[in-house]
Symmetry: C2
Subunit: 341 residues, 2 copies
């Protein structure tokens, strides 16, 4: 029997394969695999949104520096972020955890304190889950359920030529935060008496350990009566996400480097690590900001929003996906994605 390595396909290849072979037959399924959340018929006006994420110790988090309370918070936030990315309102979550006997009740309490805090902040109810034993590390699998008006759902495939490309907050910080934490971990392993040195970098580190889902922006867009024509959350990095929107919308995109939002501290810290800030910004991932497109006529409604930045425009498909650097050069954006296997 042939053996094909999963690494030959990569994560997106595997998802594509699963999607193509998925059984989909119920008329209540309005959208299956392929967006930030599945869309299920609720009633005439509304739909349910369903999304799920799994976090594995040693792959997605490292308990030598991730406090369990932050981890619980993050596990909820990344799912809420997927509901936000559909322009929906999260309502419920289920939480499954696999625990080894390495974890005490007090440790589990910390994890659930973070989960509860996120539930309160994002106004979602914890309605179910599973608790099982693990032979090795901690595993957290969360499913979030939300609602949206059918007419207001932002899919990845709705971007049109001339739409404005926007992003919330700033990018790249979560990735740099991870570099700081890894450096401090190595220093600690070399000398366990060493105290971690985060002096002044708390913002960046928190972006890695305890990201927020941008429900604030979703509520504000609703008040401003702006419905993004396409939207996705930045989990794998800006480059990867803009490629998803362009591919599914059959359009191109032009990004302006000078407009891309990066926090000063993130920029300086990237330099300290001899990393190119632009690369961190494009491929860093885990920022959980929202990348979206709006119609040009909606631009006036959001142009004074302090936390939304216009970063480019939607182009014809033939244009491809390019970035104009500060020096005026044009080069193609490549989705590095995330190498899972």
């Amino acid at each position: 029997m042939n053996r094909t390595e999963l690494s030959q396909l990569g994560e997106f290849g595997l998802i594509e394969k699963i999607k193509n072979e998925a059984f989909q037959n119920n008329k209540t399924t309005l959208k299956g695999i392929g967006d930030d959340a599945a869309v299920i018929d609720k009633n005439d006006k509304e739909a349910f949104l369903v999304t799920t994420d799994m976090l594995i110790e040693g792959v997605h988090f490292d308990l030598t520096y991730a406090p369990l309370k932050h981890l619980g918070y993050k596990a909820v936030a990344v799912n809420v972020s997927d509901i936000a990315a559909m322009n929906g309102i999260p309502q419920q979550i289920t939480v499954s955890v696999a625990l080894s006997n390495r974890f005490s009740l007090e440790a589990v309490d910390e994890l659930y304190k973070g989960i509860r805090l996120a539930c309160e902040n994002f106004k979602v109810d914890l309605v179910g889950g599973d608790t099982v034993s693990s032979r090795s590390g901690l595993i957290i699998s969360i499913t979030a359920i939300g609602t949206a008006h059918k007419q207001e759902i932002s899919y990845r495939n709705g971007a049109k030529k001339d739409d404005i490309i926007c992003v919330t907050g700033d990018l790249g910080a979560a990735y740099i935060g991870l570099q700081i934490l890894e450096r401090e971990k190595q220093a600690y392993l070399a000398d366990p008496n060493m105290q971690p040195e985060l002096g002044g970098k708390e913002y960046i580190v928190e972006r890695q350990l305890k990201p927020e889902a941008r429900m604030d922006v979703i509520h504000e867009l609703r008040e401003l009566k702006v419905i993004p024509t396409a939207m996705i959350d930045v989990s794998d990095g800006l480059a990867s996400e803009i490629m998803h929107i362009c591919k599914q919308s059959a359009v191109g995109a032009e990004l302006l480097e000078e407009n891309l939002p990066i926090d000063n501290l993130t920029y300086e810290t990237a330099r300290e690590f001899n990393l190119d800030p632009l690369t961190c910004l494009l491929n860093g991932g885990e920022d959980y900001e929202l990348l979206f497109t709006i119609r040009p006529e909606d631009m006036s409604k959001i142009k004074n929003h302090p936390d939304i930045t216009r970063i480019g425009r939607v182009m014809d498909k033939n244009y491809g996906v390019n970035i104009i650097t500060k020096a005026g050069n044009t080069f193609p954006v490549k989705a590095q994605g995330w190498v899972a296997f």
Copy 2:
């Protein structure tokens, strides 16, 4: 800081603790933690049901004898079974899998073939999920979503005194199937040239490896216009499940040993293993049959059903939960549950 071992609470203690501290605030949450599935408002007449289960290699399955295709099927079936246990119809599932590089694409294909077969059989759509890398074994986390008429949902807490207690199919086979598989595994480890000897035991082994969710019975009850007053699926064993119904319904129960359905082959094989068939039947678990109570006046509608057995009646709470043995002795039923940690 104090350290409390999870084993001091056990699985049910931990679930109780999580339930008591869970954030629940949205009016769309009709039922949270504490039943086979959560219940979420859909429209005037209908509700959504949501349930989730996580399966971990080395804890819930052993790939030395569980074929990946069967495993995929089972992972879906156990979630569908929870929707069935609410008297609901499953519609969608999300499937998250964590894979190590030990798995080839061909192996993943086998897993998804089983998932797809179950989707076809149970008429559920695969609408999403997550694929991540694992440092060690295979992990499968599935969430199933279903619908039910609000007036027809069978909760665990609706059993009333004098209701009839029924169970579908036969019990104990999945547990005996596991014993056979473990025996053959040990024989194989001792002599890898040995061929597994299942001669004639295929039914029992299949009950362990590829259980069915009893959607057939749910559809039949609907046609017969029978709404169970309480229902639960038999995942942890009959004893544990009847205790859940009695505790949540604040009633007692009397079970009749002579009525408990056990397959002849299961009975004989239990004897071969020097196991007490009654213990296997009460505490074996993983049968995924349905345990339910009905009003006495509904008994005539189902009494000729070949796959539903009347096994006892609901009593006053003060009676407790007792079983009447074939010899006429009465002894209390104790939920062994499942020691997870």
